[in-house]
């Protein structure tokens, strides 16, 4: 109990939890197939100073620290290492400042992403970061993973919205990077380095986010196709030829929409279709929006869409988005033994990747479903353990299937993970995608910030 006693002395008993039932909740995130690990204790700092105290203490005592937001991660980034202390940022959830004139909002890391979206909208502004988990994930977790989501083609991933950070380094020092300016080339861009660093370089304690004007009106198109390749071939054409940049282009195959339908207990239009695409268009007036969706809709009909459904009010838009957002939840609820991947390829190579994913699943007798952010070439190829397959066979087949999937991804000039991160889940495949020198540089950056390797050790880098 020594470590725990010291933590209690440091933070007060109300900010430390160590009873086994509580610890269990912090032993995993939402990643399937990664073994849970019970930490020694979970601490709940309420201020930057407390975070600094914890890290200084841990660095001296050489105790491993695992930062944690809301625990919705899909790469096991917040899964504790052996004998570690989890630092949960959930009580650091204040809105520090809303600066309407500069269109920024400054928040603590524990704020739930959806709350930031709501506050911005109440002021006629818009926070464009929109992971499908926005109702449950924390902004600190979004920053640490450089979360993407459904609006990346138009607005970019989380890194595009982060202007400044306050960070506590593994030594306990408190530093700030960036600020409220929209551009800044005063030295290296350490903000960008920290966004996506998966809690391995420092703990983020404050975030300055950029807001943009709220789109005046939006329409969502739900577009069923008989043939998956036809659907995917549309995407690069729409992007390069239609003259409008949709805010989203999403894809869900038949198995994915069936999963969502089951989770929501609601049927999707044209359930017989092999897949559905979803487009979101934004515009400054109803008239221009109508013109744009009719133009796009007609083009899609020419490109072999079975039908084009158009939702231009909130109720209807939400009806379509609910299907897309329920897929991952459905998988987690109904098929807990699965492997959700996050490969990303240049948009035009998408059809080849998806076709290969079905082929790989067939070869190794696995079930597969494909869904994701096709507008930016990011598909969540998800292998499911078929009923009746033994755990052993599942593990072996999955391993081979993943290797094949990654080989093809490399051939298609793609990458290992587009938004979920490496964490524990994917670290052994890192060298398939990075050159030796790249990996060596990354390791030296880690050493520079965390000489004693106390912060989220064992993540990202292959053992």
């Amino acid at each position: 109990m020594r470590v725990v006693d010291e933590l209690i002395r440091l933070l007060g008993v109300e900010n430390v939890k160590f009873d086994p039932e509580e610890l269990e909740k912090y032993s995993h995130d939402e990643t399937s197939g990664v073994e849970a690990q019970i930490p020694l204790a979970v601490v709940f700092p309420t201020s930057t100073e407390q975070v600094s105290m914890i890290l200084r203490w841990a660095n001296e005592r050489r105790v491993p620290i695992v930062p944690r937001g809301a625990g919705t991660g899909l790469s096991a980034g917040a899964v504790p290492t052996k004998d570690s202390i989890v630092v949960s940022l959930e009580r650091m959830n204040r809105i520090v400042e809303f600066d309407e004139e500069n269109m920024t909002i400054t928040v603590e890391p524990g704020v739930i992403t959806g709350e930031i979206q709501k506050i911005a909208e109440e002021h006629g502004l818009f926070y464009a970061g929109d992971p499908a988990s926005s109702e449950s994930s924390s902004i600190g977790g979004n920053v640490a993973e450089n979360a993407g989501g459904v609006k990346v083609i138009k607005y970019g991933p989380t890194s595009f919205h982060v202007l400044g950070l306050e960070v506590v380094l593994p030594t306990g020092e408190i530093v700030t990077f960036g600020g409220k300016t929209l551009k800044n080339v005063t030295g290296y861009d350490l903000v960008r380095l920290f966004v996506g660093s998966e809690g391995t370089l420092g703990i983020v304690t404050k975030i300055i986010l950029r807001l943009v004007p709220k789109p005046k009106c939006a329409a969502v198109l739900l577009v069923p196709f008989r043939d998956i390749e036809d659907a995917l071939l549309c995407v690069p054409k729409v992007l390069s030829q239609s003259g409008v940049l949709p805010a989203s282009i999403e894809f869900m195959d038949k198995a994915s929409s069936e999963m969502a339908s089951r989770f929501l207990n609601e049927s999707i239009p044209n359930p017989e279709a092999e897949c559905h695409l979803i487009f979101e268009l934004e515009s400054t007036s109803k008239q221009s929006l109508t013109r744009e969706y009719i133009e796009l809709g007609e083009k899609l009909m020419q490109m072999k869409a079975l039908e084009v459904y158009i939702a231009d009010n909130r109720t209807q838009r939400m009806k379509i988005w609910r299907f897309r957002k329920a897929i991952a939840e459905g998988i987690i609820a109904f098929r807990p033994t699965h492997c959700m991947e996050d490969v990303v390829v240049p948009t035009a190579n998408m059809p080849k990747l998806v076709v290969s994913a079905y082929d790989i699943a067939r070869r190794f007798d696995l079930e597969v479903l494909n869904f994701g952010h096709v507008g930016d070439g990011n598909v969540h190829v998800t292998f499911l353990k078929p009923d009746g397959m033994s755990d052993d066979v599942w593990k072996r087949s999955l391993e081979k299937a993943l290797e094949e999937l990654y080989k093809i991804t490399v051939q298609l000039e793609g990458n290992l993970t587009g938004e979920h991160g490496v964490g524990l889940k994917r670290k052994k495949y890192l060298s398939m995608f990075l050159q030796e020198k790249e990996l060596a540089l990354m390791r030296s950056i880690k050493r520079l910030f965390d000489p004693n390797n106390i912060l989220n050790p064992g993540k990202i880098f292959p053992d």
């Binding site: 006629g124 009106c217 739900l222 609601e266 239009p269 109803k286 109508t290 969706y293 009719i294 809709g297 007609e298 009909m301 039908e307 084009v308 459904y309 158009i310 939702a311 009010n313 909130r314 109720t315 209807q316 009806k319 379509i320």
Partner: protein, 266 residues
Amino acid sequence: MNFLVLVKQVPDTEKVKIDPISGTMVREGLDVTMNPLDSHALELAVSLKEKLNGSVTVLSMGPMNTIDVLRDAIALGADRAILLSDSALAGSDTWATSLALAKAIEKLNIAFDLMICGEKSTDGETGQVGIELATLLNLPVVTYVSELIELGSNFVLVKRSIEDAHEVWKAPLPACLCVLKSVAEPRLPTLAGKKTAMDAKIEIYDTESIGINREEVGLKGSPTRVVKVFNTKIARNCRIYADKDILEGIERVVGLIKAVRDGEAK
């Protein structure tokens, strides 16, 4: 078989905000949309029309931006859309609203076998207009309809939901139904539907063309006076059992379950 669906325009928002001083709804900056409950009524009518042939007419009373809502109804399969709009109608309560709508139906001689209303609007939420309208038109009316079982050539058979049971009602046609969500799940409009709606003619009438006496409607014709609007605070007596008193909590819950079961046994 001909259908008349009553649709109201409501603000397109999740949370209705009430101005604490005037006690009226904050509508500024909000888009309008079809009362979500009315879209279930419309779906019921359109799906029945597709099966039985005939036509669907939608009728609404509201400001001019209601045109957008009526176009949406056309995109979803309505054949004819009628708007009753006039500054004299502003401030109408359920009585005045029903009176104006009833006069329009009579004057325009809208033929229908079944008139379908939503359960209630999401803003006014009184759930009165359908019933008052049926009464003024001297039609049989069934409220809280959860399912349409059968539509015959001269009758309609429906399930009506009451607190903890269902009733089955048969009404002669023409009749009025005030329907719950479960009657039909609204479809999404298609591209073709949207295009039809863009060019569709929306018929617009004012009080004069319908022959409504301006004194009978609007604020003047409304016997309802909203004296005060306020948020009711629902205070629940929530007791959390944790740590030391957890066993007491478990006992209490078990006791409650037992009490319910005993009650059911009797």
